[in-house]
Structures are given as C-alpha cells and as structure tokens.
C-alpha cells in the first residue's frame, strides 16, 4: 500500500474540504520573466567573452613584460677579445726594400723617398788571396 492512499476516510474528507479553497491569484508576468531571462543570459555570455578577452590581454602583457624584465635585471654582456700572439691580426713589418714599399714611397715622396741602398762594403782584395 503506497503512502498516497494511506489515509483514513475522515482525513480524505478533510483533504477535499481544504482543496475546495483556491489560493489567491498571483501577479506573475511571464513576458517580463522571459525578457529578464534573455537579458541575464546575454549579460552572462558577454561577461564570459569579457573574461576570455581579459585573460588574453593579461597573457599578452605578461609575455611582453617578463622578457623585458629579464633584460633589465641581467648584467650587460662584456665581450673580451683575446688575441693570440700568432694571430693573423699581427701584421708583419713590411721591408722597406720590398717592391711594394718602394712603390708607395715613390708615390708619396718621389725618388727622394726611396730608402738608401745598403751596398755592401768592398773588401780589400789581394792577389795572394787567390792563391
């Protein structure tokens, strides 16, 4: 036996008497309720988009700020160039008697610019030296 019909006749009669009463009418406006529901739903959707946009802007700004912050906090790079003694940067001294040096000297200063010829000294020669 279900609870629905588990009542004595007196209770049933009393139920019927109570049911004969009608609750007073309610002032419910279905159009206003539908309009309000639509407006709130639209506002909720808009807020969702606004939240997504805000998160994206935040991510963009933070992705821009973090590397520049790194740049600002780290010390500048100090470049030290070391040259080995046998480096190619060491230009060997050009011999003043080389063709190139002499060409440059004539171009700049004329014949007077030519270096003095290093003529070996003439050794004294004796006939005895030959025999």
């Amino acid at each position: 036996m279900s609870h629905e019909d588990n009542l004595n006749p007196a209770d049933r009669e009393f139920e019927d008497a109570l049911r004969s009463l009608s609750p007073k009418t309610a002032r419910i406006d279905p159009v206003a309720a539908a309009f309000c529901a639509g407006e709130r739903s639209a506002r909720r959707t808009t807020r969702r988009w606004q939240a997504v946009a805000a998160v994206m802007v935040l991510a963009l700004v933070s992705s821009w700020l973090i590397p520049s912050f790194d740049r600002a906090t780290t010390s500048p790079h100090l470049v030290v160039q070391l040259q080995s003694p046998d480096s190619a940067a060491v230009v060997p001294a050009v011999d003043a008697h080389s063709v190139l040096a002499m060409q440059e000297a004539i171009r700049d200063r004329g014949l007077s610019g030519l270096p003095r010829a290093e003529i070996p000294t003439v050794r004294a020669f004796d006939a005895e030296d030959m025999f």
């Binding site: 209770d11 009608s22 007073k24 419910i28 309720a33 529901a37």
Partner: protein, 165 residues
C-alpha cells in the same frame, strides 16, 4: 534546449499555488517577486529540469527562506500587520471550509508540517516529490502530513471559545 512556452505555461497555471507556498515565509508582494524570479531562473536553464514543478517549489523555497532571512527585521514589523489580514485564499461561496479558519489553522501548524500540507493539498504533489524537495524520506513526509491533518481537524472540531465575563 528548454521548451520555453511549455514550461512557462506550466508555471503560470500553478503560479497561485507557488505563491501560496512562498507566503508561508513572506508577505504577498514578496512572494510574488520570489515566484517571478524563480520563473526567470527556470527560463535561463540550458536544459529543462526533469520535474519543472518540483524544481520550482525547491527554488521558491530556497529564495523565500533567503529573502525572509535578509529582511527579518522588516518582516517582524510587517507580521503584526499581516497577522490581522487574511490573504492566502479567496473567499468563495462554494468553499467547503471557511477560508479564514483554514488560514488560521495552517498558520498554527509547525512550519515543517505546514509546507508539506501546502505542497500536498494545493500543489498537488506526491509524497515522493515532496520528500525530494525537502530532502527527507517519504515516510517522514507522510508522517508529518498525517500529523498536520490530525492537528487541523482537532482544531476545527473544537467548539469556539468565547470569553465570559
């Protein structure tokens, strides 16, 4: 997707009963507002609840209790005025019981019994639905209901007490 037209009609047909239910905690205009808000909330649901009427009763109950809690000070002041005013039922000649007496008897019931009587008699809900809304067992709902009927009948059968000087 919720069938707006069907759900709205379902609620509007039962609006006076839902408002009567809310009036246990609130005055008439606040009860109307709570039912209106509950209907708005129902129309905002993406999917219709399995039992829209039980959903409405539960939503109205929660909102009415919250509303009553917030405005408890104002409510106490208004209760004095409301006590003298009968506003739950229409006075009609075909009523089998006097509307004022019925309202008075209902107001004398403990709140947990009264709301079951209102849901059962005027909301036409089954005990399973009532138990679901109140989150109690069906047996408890039924026991409270029969106890309430017994108290009301007892009160009705008592002879009117008149003051003798």
């Amino acid at each position: 997707m919720i069938d707006l037209e069907r759900v709205t009609k379902l609620v509007i047909d039962r609006a006076p009963r839902l408002t009567l239910y809310a009036r246990q905690w609130l005055d008439s205009s606040s009860a109307d507002d709570v039912v209106q808000d509950a209907l708005t909330a129902l129309l905002m649901q993406r999917t219709a609840p399995d039992d829209p009427i039980a959903w409405m009763y539960r939503t109205v109950r929660n909102a009415a209790i919250d509303h009553a809690r917030v405005s408890s000070r104002r409510r106490k002041r208004e209760q004095v005025v409301a006590a003298a005013r009968r506003e739950w039922f229409d006075d009609r000649p075909d009523n089998l019981i006097d509307a004022d007496s019925a309202e008075r008897m209902l107001k004398n019931l403990p709140p947990d019994q009264r709301e079951i009587v209102v849901m059962r008699i005027w909301g036409e809900l089954g005990f399973a639905q009532i138990a679901g809304i109140l989150e109690i067992s069906i047996s408890t709902a039924h026991a409270r209901y029969t106890a309430a009927l017994a108290q009301m009948r007892n009160e009705l059968e008592q002879p009117c007490r008149t003051k003798t000087t």
